[in-house]
């Protein structure tokens, strides 16, 4: 069983929901990322999605675009991101790490070289925003052979036929994008999400995590009620941007954001 499956099964047994933060590796500086990851673990997160910076993040809004720019200013390459995960693993053997990004840095490194290096560094899953399952035929088997979960997106526009096909290619969990739009937009409609996620649950046995538009304890709880986990991104990245000059203050701010979300999710436990 993969580390991701293990964590999600344990939570399910406890009637709890996964809290999954997203931050961009290397933002505000690559030397700080491991520390921020530990801070988030201390605040009760269950899985970390670590963004791999890319020069052209087409699916992201301004907040994560700027995070990529900050990280790239300090040359946060994919290799550097893998080194960050390796360092995190030296003191944390339990919290799954999912790399989330765009295909070109992986393609530039080479699929096999990346799969080897990611497994060796202690990465658990890979979510490539611009790689639908149709194009993943070459890379998905390399991940599977090394125990890396392939995580794919589902969207409001995804047809039933595709939901089934995508779930067939997925392991760990599926990521439901809560609205048509880029990261950081404030468009979430909780009732629509609830209906769609319930429907996705009918079509696959995989856990469903929901991201895009979750920015506080209230939205986290509302979405957590109908899903297996919530992904929180832009609000954390925005906090990093606002506190980049003072890392201790930044860690306090992240903790202050995540704690109420954790509590709100746990208050749902049956």
């Amino acid at each position: 069983m993969s580390r991701i499956e293990g964590v999600l099964q344990t939570l399910k047994g406890q009637g709890r929901k996964a809290l999954i933060p997203f931050i961009t590796a290397g933002d505000p500086h690559p030397d700080e990322t491991v520390g921020l990851m530990h801070t988030m673990v201390d605040a009760g997160v269950n899985i970390i999605e670590l963004g791999v910076p890319f020069s052209d993040p087409m699916a992201d809004g301004p907040v994560i675009q700027l995070a990529c720019e900050r990280a790239l200013k300090h040359s946060t390459s994919l290799r550097r991101v893998l080194a960050i995960v390796r360092e995190f693993r030296q003191t944390n053997d339990t919290t799954p790490v999912v790399l989330m990004g765009y295909l070109n840095p992986i393609e530039a490194m080479g699929y096999e070289a990346f799969a080897d290096a990611a497994a060796e560094a202690g990465v658990d899953g890979v979510l490539t925003v611009d790689l639908p399952p149709e194009e993943a035929g070459d890379v998905a088997p390399l991940f599977a052979e090394r125990g890396l979960d392939s995580i794919f997106l589902l969207a409001p526009t995804t047809t039933d036929e595709r939901i089934r096909a995508i779930a067939d290619h997925s392991s760990g969990y599926v990521y439901y994008v809560s609205f048509n739009g880029v990261t950081g937009a404030a468009k979430i409609n909780v009732e629509e999400v609830a209906a769609k996620v319930a429907h996705v649950h009918e079509l696959t046995a995989l856990p469903v995590a929901v991201g895009f538009g979750i920015r506080d304890a209230e939205t986290a709880a509302a979405v957590g009620r109908v899903s297996d986990g919530v992904i929180v991104g832009s609000v954390l990245v925005d906090t990093i941007a606002r506190n980049q000059a003072d890392i201790e203050e930044l860690k306090r701010a992240l903790t202050d954001l995540l704690n109420p979300m954790r509590e709100a999710l746990d208050s749902l436990a049956s």
Binding site: D56, D60, G61, N104, E107, M109, D130, P132, N180, G181
Partner: protein
């Protein structure tokens, strides 16, 4: 090295997943997949629909003014002292460039799909103007994304778009040129996918765009083929076109791909010189990667980050290229070369003074290479340059280089 192409090989490409050999495909976020699949299905149906094709042909004739002439540049030929140089006059199209062939086709598709809101990216502004134009004609809401740097250097076209009723969004992110405009157009599309049709301006982007833009632009090569036979009794020996994303080039090349005797030359922007790194020539100096929905030759660094590009011409200032060109390069069917900013500027002046035809700076790249090429060829041979657009939009840039305030 070069493969002999047959009609069967060509009709099999792109394959069902939008691949041209190792290139092309559909690398987009899940939100867009359903729209792209619907577009593909509807396009493949309409491609065979006589009514759709008849409407397209009629618009090209009566609105765009096709066929565009194939003109013998007698004086340029004499000055060059080599092969006969002929010009395919896409600059005479309504709105002044080849771009309108494609926007007519895609706007027609949008109408068939019932979409009322149109978005587009633009570099030089020619595609933006062509899109704004068809939207004005069909009463569609039009949003054009344009890099902030290009808004400045192509201010005339910005104003034209506004007069045509379009909203121009100045894009401040990244390098503030064409690639960033395309990023923001994709972001808008993801957000408004239910009611919005994205009119992509070149043969790049996810499948089926490289296919349908190529089909719409192929009228250039089809006309050139029959005009050439009619006027000279033979096919040209060489075709020369500039390559930004590659739509005017593929439109010219495609109907000649199986004619082995016809040499194809795509001219990329060499900027300050390939050796300086300050250029926009992915086929000459890049490597395969994935950007904007397709796998193709790209300019990127060792870590897979997209590199900044440079060209004096906004329409060629793009780090990628249409996937079909990447395939034509790898199988050796087409040759890809580059000319520098300075060579293009010289060619702009030359064509203007010698033939009284002022080309777009993009087009001037093709002119510069074609003149060099023709000089090495025999007098009984024939070179056709695709004059993809006219140069009015570039007069500010030229004046600035001359130190003249307009």
């Amino acid at each position: 090295m070069s493969v002999k192409l047959t009609e069967e090989m060509l009709t099999a490409l792109p394959d069902a997943r939008g691949h041209f050999g190792a290139f092309g495909g559909r690398f987009v976020s899940e939100t867009l997949m359903d729209s792209l699949m619907t577009l593909e299905r509807e396009y493949l149906r309409l491609k065979k629909d006589p009514e759709f094709q008849a409407t397209f042909d009629k618009d090209l004739a009566d609105y765009v003014g096709r066929p565009s002439p194939l003109y013998f540049a007698e004086r340029l030929t004499r000055e060059t002292g080599g092969a006969q140089i002929w010009l395919k006059r896409e600059d005479l199209n309504h709105t002044g460039a080849h771009k309108v062939n494609n926007t007519i086709g895609q706007a027609l598709l949008a109408s068939f799909l019932g979409k009322k809101r149109i978005i587009a990216e633009t570099g030089a502004g020619q595609h933006g103007v062509a899109t704004a134009t068809v939207c004005a004609r069909l009463g569609l809401e039009c949003h054009v994304f344009m890099g902030a740097e290009d808004v400045q250097r192509q201010s005339l076209n910005v104003y034209r778009m506004k007069l045509l009723g379009a909203q121009v969004h100045s894009v401040q992110s990244g390098s503030r040129t064409l690639k960033d405009a395309m990023n923001d157009a994709m972001r808008d599309w993801v957000t408004n996918v239910d009611d919005t049709f994205y009119i992509i301006g070149t043969v790049a982007g996810p499948h089926p765009y490289p296919l349908l833009v190529r089909d719409f632009q192929s009228v250039i090569g089809r006309e050139t083929r029959s005009q050439s036979l009619e006027k000279t009794g033979k096919l040209p020996d060489a075709l020369v076109a500039c390559v930004g994303g590659g739509s005017n080039a593929i439109g010219m090349f495609y109907p000649f791909l199986t004619d082995e005797s016809v040499q194809l030359y795509g001219v990329e922007a060499g900027g300050l010189g390939i050796e300086t790194g300050q250029h926009a020539a992915p086929l000459c100096a890049g490597r395969p990667g994935v950007l904007h929905g397709n796998r193709t030759y790209l300019m990127e660094d060792d870590d897979g980050q997209i590199a900044a590009t440079h060209s004096v011409s906004a329409g060629l200032d793009y780090p990628g290229v249409g996937p079909e060109h990447s395939w034509l390069k790898d199988i050796g069917r087409a040759n890809y070369v580059s000319v520098t900013d300075d060579e293009a500027l010289d060619a702009f002046r030359m064509l203007t003074l010698v033939e009284g035809i002022m080309p777009a700076l993009e087009t001037a790249h093709a002119v510069a290479y074609a003149v060099k090429l023709a000089a090495t060829m025999d007098k009984d041979q024939m070179v056709v340059i695709n004059i993809s657009g006219r140069g009015d939009k570039d007069i500010h840039t030229i004046a600035q280089l001359d130190g003249i305030e307009l």
